[in-house]
């Protein structure tokens, strides 16, 4: 059985912030997303339709940000955790502005909490991080908070 999993060293990482990652939003990314979840809403893909709709053009569906998590800044710890397996524990997303193709997002992630839990798979460490998404006009478009489970 693992001894103390949350070491002082790990606890000291709370508050650590990633370098910003820049992501250019392209139409294809949105299209792939809509295709992957099989969401036929024309607002995400049909220029003609979207031009006459509320936003005056294609926007990314709110769930789209979830596909950018892997591209966004990884919360790299300065040392290896004694776990190689990981699961996605879920998260919160808060949306402030629509995201359009052509937007350039700057994304920063911060480690906000570290927790330990005994689960079916043995001892698990939960890394909770908060991510802010800003567009090229420095507007906050979304905030998210996710839990990565390592076991």
């Amino acid at each position: 059985m693992a001894e103390q999993v949350i070491t002082e060293e790990l606890r000291a990482c709370i508050g650590m912030q990633s370098e910003p990652t820049v992501i250019e939003i392209e139409k294809v990314m949105i299209k792939r997303f809509a295709e992957a979840i099989e969401d036929p809403n024309p607002l995400w893909q049909d220029e003609e339709y979207a031009r006459n709709a509320r936003y005056g053009g294609i926007v990314a569906p709110p769930g789209f940000l979830m596909t950018l998590m892997m591209r966004g800044p990884a919360m790299e710890l300065p040392f290896e955790l004694p776990f190689t397996r990981r699961l996605d524990g879920g998260g919160d997303w808060e949306y402030f502005k629509p995201i359009r193709p052509g937007d350039v997002l700057t994304v920063v992630t911060k480690l906000v909490d570290v927790r330990e839990r005994e689960g079916r798979m043995g001892t698990m460490v939960l890394l909770v991080s908060e991510t802010t998404w800003k567009n090229q006009r420095n507007e906050l478009v979304a905030k998210s908070c996710g839990t990565s489970i390592r076991y």
Binding site: M29, R32, F33, E35, A36, I37, E38, D39, N41, P42, L43, Y49, A53, R54, P61, P62, G63, M66, T67, L68, M69, M70, R71, R85, R86, L87, D88, G89, G90, G91, D92, W93, E94, Y95, M121
Partner: protein, 143 residues
Amino acid sequence: MPKQLYYEDVEVGTELPLLIKKPTPQQLVKWAGASDDYYEIHYDKDFAQSTGLPGTIVHGRLKSSFLVQLLTDWTGDGGTVKKISVQHRGMDFPGEQITCRGTVTKKYVEGDEHIVECEIWTENPKGEKTAPGSAIVALPSRE
């Protein structure tokens, strides 16, 4: 295109129209491509089993995205999803049906926004909630 929903159309307890998904291995690979999540537990059975899972599993974020679609399908173009929160609690397996459901838990006016809060979740074929969550949406008003 989804029909427009108005604030006045919903009450506490209103159920969201079901969204039914049945992700195939192909859909998981499409999701991997769309999300850049190439972790092998989602497409390689042997690999998944070597990590202690019973087989390949559906990406948690794909389920979260299904729940967002549940909301956008329901609210129509004029609605805005302001917040969603999802916990990935149970695993879902490719080839099995995932039913996305929701009910309205609260409605109120805040400033000039007409806000509706919902409980949302995904359900596996046994009726278990594999990804429970909540959401806040703003709807247009008829007034």
